[in-house]
């Protein structure tokens, strides 16, 4: 079975500093990896994805993620954090199930808190 791990429940970063939210995965075959963000009382919003190609993927709101096959990681990064980046972040992997159906398997989520 495919799985995703987000080792940190919470990450605290001062505004203006770079941020990293960690994600590691375990899949059979080529991974299709995603990051989503959830603001309070809102649904999940797509940030970025890695399917193939360049290991550094750029997404919404200035976020990027680096795919590292040897370390089976897909860490989310941003060069300069904003207070408005404070939210719950989920890493996910596309999970091919029986019959060819695809759902997403999510990590537990990481609370990102940006301090002014």
């Amino acid at each position: 079975a495919q799985s995703v791990a987000q080792p940190e429940d919470q990450v605290n970063v001062a505004e203006g500093n770079p941020l990293t939210v960690k994600c590691t995965y375990s899949v059979s075959g080529n991974p299709y990896l995603f990051w989503y963000v959830q603001y309070p009382n809102r649904g999940l919003q797509f940030l970025l994805k890695y399917i193939t190609g360049d290991n550094l993927v750029k997404g919404s709101y200035g976020f990027e993620a680096e795919f590292n096959k040897s370390q089976t990681s897909f860490h989310l990064k941003k060069p300069s954090a904003l207070v408005s980046d404070s939210a719950l972040y989920f890493c996910a992997v596309r999970d091919r199930r029986g019959g060819g159906a695809d759902g997403l398997t999510f990590g537990k989520g990481t609370h990102l808190i940006i301090q002014p």
């Binding site: 299709y32 995603f34 989503y36 809102r42 649904g43 999940l44 919003q45 797509f46 994805k49 399917i51 989920f90 596309r94 999970d95 091919r96 199930r97 029986g98 019959g99 060819g100 159906a101 695809d102 759902g103 997403l104 398997t105 999510f106 990590g107 537990k108 989520g109």
Partner: protein, 115 residues
């Protein structure tokens, strides 16, 4: 354009009652997914529809849960004889197709509270 919509936004029901949750996917999206988000279990995949094909029910937690999708568009998730452990936020998502490369777009969710 319009995103994924879900109704109701909040539902409080008594243990043992049946509930129906509705999802309207983005127009033109053929794939539709239901997930459940709860404190103890995180985000769990429940069920998946691709067009008018039979759904993949592999994630449904029990036979009290069922879902249908009419006309390849609107979907209803039904929970029969609700239990307190069913309390959660139920999220619906849609994507252009079921191909793995396409991202899913999520609705705001229905918060279900079983008393």
């Amino acid at each position: 354009g319009a995103g994924v919509s879900q109704s109701p936004s909040n539902k409080v029901t008594e243990k043992g009652k049946d509930v129906e949750l509705r999802c309207d996917p983005i127009s033109g999206h053929t794939a539709l997914y239901w997930y459940r988000q709860s404190l103890g279990q995180g985000l769990e995949f429940l069920i998946y529809f691709q067009g008018n094909s039979a759904p993949d029910k592999s994630g449904l937690p029990s036979d009290r849960f069922s879902a249908e999708r009419t006309g390849g568009s609107v979907s209803t998730l039904t929970i029969q004889r609700t239990q307190q452990e069913d309390s959660a936020v139920y999220l619906c998502a849609s994507s252009r197709t079921s191909e793995s490369s396409y991202e899913q777009y999520f609705g705001p969710g229905t918060r279900l509270t079983v008393t």
